[in-house]
């Protein structure tokens, strides 16, 4: 097993992750010039939980409710033949028509950019937002498409073959981000 050769290192512990989300929330409010037309859309699975956390922070600061949605981009991927069908596809639900809104897509890790490309395609089938931005907890580099994030929690360079594992309380029992270097 190649496991013995891998080298795990913690990129963010629970407190650092919380601070990163606080800062991302503030940046999102600035980016959207307030909260009036702001909609947060998380990408299944961990993006959905992260969007919920960021929404809670914004709601506390601003005293307003932030409409939230979730999308599963599996059916919009361009590599079904390559990766095979995903075992379980998550739910997609959006808070009504997105036309005229400022949608902020929230995901855990930005890597090749293909997930975001698929998310943009999927969102286009739900209306015509005035603007779409991207917020990610970790940008690990390695883009294969001309896509960049507007709001980033942490930037790290991870070589192909390595992994960035984002764990969050609601799904994994604890908050942390771990970089697993490949063999």
């Amino acid at each position: 097993m190649p496991r013995a050769q891998t080298n795990n290192s913690t990129l963010l512990d629970a407190r650092a992750l919380a601070r990163a989300l606080q800062r991302m929330a503030l940046e999102i409010i600035e980016l959207a010039h307030g909260t009036e037309v702001l909609v947060l859309v998380g990408i299944q699975r961990r993006g959905v939980e992260l969007a919920a956390r960021i929404a809670a922070i914004i709601e506390e600061k601003e005293g307003v409710r932030i409409p939230r949605g979730a999308i599963d981009i599996t059916l919009y991927r361009d590599d079904l033949e390559l990766v095979g069908p995903k075992p379980v596809i998550g739910a997609t639900h959006l808070p009504g028509d997105l036309s005229g809104k400022h949608v902020v897509i929230v995901d855990d890790v930005l890597y090749t950019g293909r997930t975001v490309r698929a998310a943009l395609d999927e969102l286009a089938d739900f209306g015509r937002p005035r603007r779409i931005s991207l917020a990610v907890l970790v940008d690990r580099g390695g883009r294969e498409l001309p896509i960049q994030a507007d709001v980033v929690g942490e930037t790290v360079k991870v070589r192909p073959g390595g992994r960035v594992d984002v764990r969050i309380e609601e799904l994994d029992g604890r908050d942390e981000v771990v970089v697993v270097e490949g063999p």
């Binding site: 059916l75 079904l80 390559l82 095979g84 075992p87 739910a91 999927e122």
Partner: protein, 320 residues
């Protein structure tokens, strides 16, 4: 290791409980796609699917076609009448000619039991059985199971009774295989002449009186009485059948608890089922139709995925 499907979907007899669960779980998110304003996702873009129907069908063919179109596949419908089949071409020749035009999947209904398996063994494209003779109609079995799971909340331990012509019914066979694999208790009810001999040996209860079935069951799946059966002498008359086996309000009122009522369609109102039952509060007959599209989308999607051995190479890490 999660379950995957083989090249073809021939029948539920050949699937494991895990594979059946995979299809039902995959169908869930597809329900939502049909509720969207734009009822379409690009998952099967560029795939070509031929719907090859050697027997008449409205519901199943339309349901498959909606499923294919909502996944962005390109579809062609071939009916036996008006095609080269009526000029004497064999099934394999028809299919090989279609394959020569570079198709990816064939959805086939055929009058001969075993036709889907036969074809699947001879062509490279995926074959989905949309009903073969008296053998199986797997997507109908799957949509029935999805509907039971939606309505009752589970399949394991649920008491399901199939009522009517069990012997000639591919729907019954797919239901029996699928439901027993997922741990439901299954029974059949109908005139002796329409129950397969020795069915009890498969662990299936057989009721000779519909009143007993109603007292026992949580769910009744009422099958269509095919009129040609009467002509062949299996039952004395349609009126007689309704009097003895008809699922009526009066009979259901005597049940200890309300029963969920299913019917794969097309219905003969006043033959196997009372109109008031079919349109009543416990009927899920139209939910079955809705679920049919989602289940067929799930099957098409899972069969199209194909090459999981390349998964690791493509994943590259992260959550992407």
């Amino acid at each position: 290791m999660t379950a995957t499907l083989e090249k073809d979907l021939v029948g539920l007899e050949f699937l494991s409980a895990e594979q059946i669960r995979l299809i039902l779980d995959t169908a869930e998110p597809f329900k939502e796609v049909s509720e969207r304003q734009i009822k379409k996702v690009p998952a099967l873009r560029g795939k070509t699917i031929v719907n090859l129907f050697f027997e008449a069908s409205t519901r199943t063919r339309i349901s498959f076609e909606f499923a294919e179109k909502r996944l962005s596949a390109d579809t062609v419908n071939v009916a036996a009448s008006g095609s080269s089949v009526s000029k004497g071409e064999t099934l394999v020749d028809t299919a090989k000619n279609l394959e020569a035009m570079r198709i990816d999947m064939v959805v086939m209904r055929h009058g001969a039991s075993g036709a889907a398996q036969f074809l699947g063994n001879r062509i490279r494209s995926n074959v989905i059985n949309a009903g073969d003779g008296k053998h199986e109609h797997p997507t109908q079995g799957l949509l029935d199971m999805l509907t039971i799971r939606d309505k009752v909340g589970r399949i394991e331990g649920v008491k399901v009774c199939l009522v009517g012509d069990i012997m000639h019914s591919r729907v019954a066979r797919s239901n029996l295989w699928g439901l027993t694999k997922l741990g439901a208790e299954v029974a059949v009810c109908g005139p002796r002449s329409l129950l397969p001999r020795g069915i009890e040996q498969l662990g299936v209860r057989a009721f000779g009186r519909v009143e007993e079935a109603i007292e026992w069951a949580d769910v009744l799946n009422v099958l269509r009485l095919q009129l040609e059966r009467m002509e062949k002498g299996f039952i004395p008359s349609l009126r007689e059948y309704y009097r003895v086996f008809g699922v009526t309000t009066e009979r259901l009122e005597r049940a200890p608890k309300p029963l969920t009522i299913m019917h794969p369609g097309p219905m003969n109102r006043g033959v196997e089922i009372d109109s008031r039952v079919a349109d009543g509060p416990h009927s899920v007959i139209l939910d079955q139709v809705t679920n049919g599209v989602a289940v067929r989308m799930a099957v098409l999607y899972l069969l199209a995925g194909g090459r999981p051995e390349l998964a690791d190479a493509a994943k590259g890490g992260g959550s992407e």
